[in-house]
Symmetry: C2
């Protein structure tokens, strides 16, 4: 049923005191046509069979600050599972107190993104995992030093052996990345919205449903759809009207850096919106702290719509229903360093 | 029985093939006269009744990076429960990439130290907990901003209410510190040495027992005694022979800064040795990475003894029996920030 017809019926039904299951089902049908609930099991990933051993190894690596040159930062530093899978900073602070160029995206449910990073330059999480560890402004490490660090601790070598059996020399940078991908694939956060998509009408309140309807009606769902309510497809930020340079800094041309195609200037992957209420500040620039303001900016820049306060409040209520339950994480006890473990260094190497 | 007599008996017994339970019991008796096993329950602390609610709140605070001005560092950053309760750095890296003046001590079992910090300047963990959060080179925050941050998140206010019932306004810096102390009081790591002290002779191997005997014989246990095998009493570093300035930097006069008493120059609290195998590098300067070297330095500087390689190996084996089991930590899910949460700042304020 077209939305305008549905609206008409809603108004009629309300005026007749007839609002109820039929219309609720209608919204649910529409939602299920656009979105998908999280699966109930860990998803398969390309070229990386997921095993219990790989997950456990990946968890240790994810939390191990010795994967950084300084010994200060782990994956979890910027993708903190205690705070929505990100660091709640404008852009992350890394090696030498340098600031990263873009806001750290959440690691939660990231396995369902079409590609990783704001510009999609990593095709999957195992490709992504190799980035920050080597970035000079983040963990500032090298694959060689990561491997030397891991090989210096017999417990890690055992864990790699268990995670990658039948490999002669399993402690490799590729396997490091695969183990982290396997762990991240477990970071699913089922939310009230999933319960709703799965047929539990009571999982969303009236305002959340109103927000969902508005989200679809206004066109937000054209880009923010699928299992991650985003995370798929690339769109110009400022499709209708460019936001100010504070929010969309001129120098960061987004996907243009990946494709060198003029059409990709200021193009970014649509942000995945699960747990968005936990992951302020917003946008790749991290300049907007208030989710209402972020929604309003999206309205004008992407849709040419000046959303009313009520519409914004409703949409924010709907977005709140995407806040899910983080899986219980037993904090790992990491292998002890040995005499052979490379020493941490806080030195900043220019150009690195 | 005096040790020299015991030695004579040991030699005699060994030559007669009589080594056994009696002599083993003798070492156990001596050990129990000098050391104490960890208790089986959470210890009581001064002026801070420990409750489940306080522990849970304290755990959240311990892991929350928003307690730092930058939003980067939590207590766990430098007292990482995944890596022996410390950060495995020479001295910690904090706000603005500044280096702290002394090696971060482990938070594990710290509740049993007579006082906190290398110079004992905090009488207990609740006094200690207020230090790093305000130190300009560490978390660089202020009590006011900590409280404003906590009060901005309704979930934290609820947790404080539950942890400190019958207080009108429980979100205070004192209660912040008390909750962290309550959590830290749970961080006990029972080790093979505890099993031995509790009467299980098989909990230590032969070399560990030889190391224990040497540790007592040579006088190490004169300072490193009690439940934490140290952590009590203050002693000059370089009692017999000052180590080089690399290990004992001239400018750091230790407890002199606390008492302003000449006798306290280069005096430090005896390091607690539980989990010492996990917490390299060593000494307040963090300059020594190898535990064998650290033991050798202690021999010459504190005892005037040039320990043999065998003696050092034995002592290191004994110290390994102090590595305990870290309690299982469920990584917390922290309250989400709100519009009222003070923003993180990476700026370094001179003199702060």
């Amino acid at each position: 049923m077209p939305r305008n017809l549905r609206h008409l019926l809603t108004v009629t039904a309300l005026s007749l005191g007839l609002a109820g299951p039929v219309l609720a089902d209608d919204l649910l049908d529409e939602a299920n046509a656009v979105f998908k609930p999280l699966p109930s099991t860990i998803p398969a990933v390309r070229d990386n069979p997921i095993t219990k051993e790989k997950i456990e190894l990946g968890k240790a690596l994810f939390f191990d600050p010795r994967m950084s040159a300084s010994g200060v930062f782990s994956c979890n530093s910027c993708h903190n599972l205690a705070t929505g899978g990100d660091d709640n900073l404008e852009t992350s602070i890394g090696h030498g107190w340098q600031k990263g160029p873009r806001n750290a995206p959440t690691a939660l449910n990231a396995v369902f993104n079409e590609a990783q990073f704001w510009d999609g330059r990593a095709e999957d999480l195992k490709a992504q995992a190799k980035g920050p560890v080597q970035a000079g402004v983040e963990m500032a490490n090298t694959p060689d030093k990561v491997i030397a660090t891991l090989k210096s601790m017999p417990q890690y070598v055992e864990w790699f052996d268990a995670a990658f059996p039948e490999q002669g020399d399993p402690v490799t940078f590729d396997n490091f990345a695969k183990a982290i991908e396997a762990y991240e694939a477990t970071l699913l956060t089922p939310a009230p919205f999933d319960a709703y998509l799965n047929g539990n009408d009571a999982a969303l309140g009236d305002q959340e449903k109103a927000g969902l309807a508005t989200f679809i009606d206004k066109g937000c769902a054209s880009c923010h759809s699928g299992i991650n309510v985003g995370g798929n497809g690339y769109y110009p930020f400022g499709l209708i009207e460019k936001p100010g340079a504070e929010v969309l800094p001129e120098k960061d041309k987004g996907r243009f850096a990946v494709t060198a195609t003029a059409d990709d200037s200021y193009v970014f992957r649509a942000a995945p919106l699960r747990n968005i209420a936990l992951t302020a500040p917003y946008f790749h620039s991290g300049k907007v702290w208030d989710l209402k303001q972020a929604v309003a900016i999206m309205g004008t820049s992407q849709l040419g719509e000046h959303l009313t306060d009520q519409e914004i409040d409703d949409i924010v209520a709907f977005l709140g229903s995407l806040t899910g339950e983080v899986p219980q994480v037993i904090y790992p006890v990491l292998p002890a360093e040995t005499a052979g473990t490379p020493r941490p260094t806080e030195d900043v190497i220019p150009g690195k």
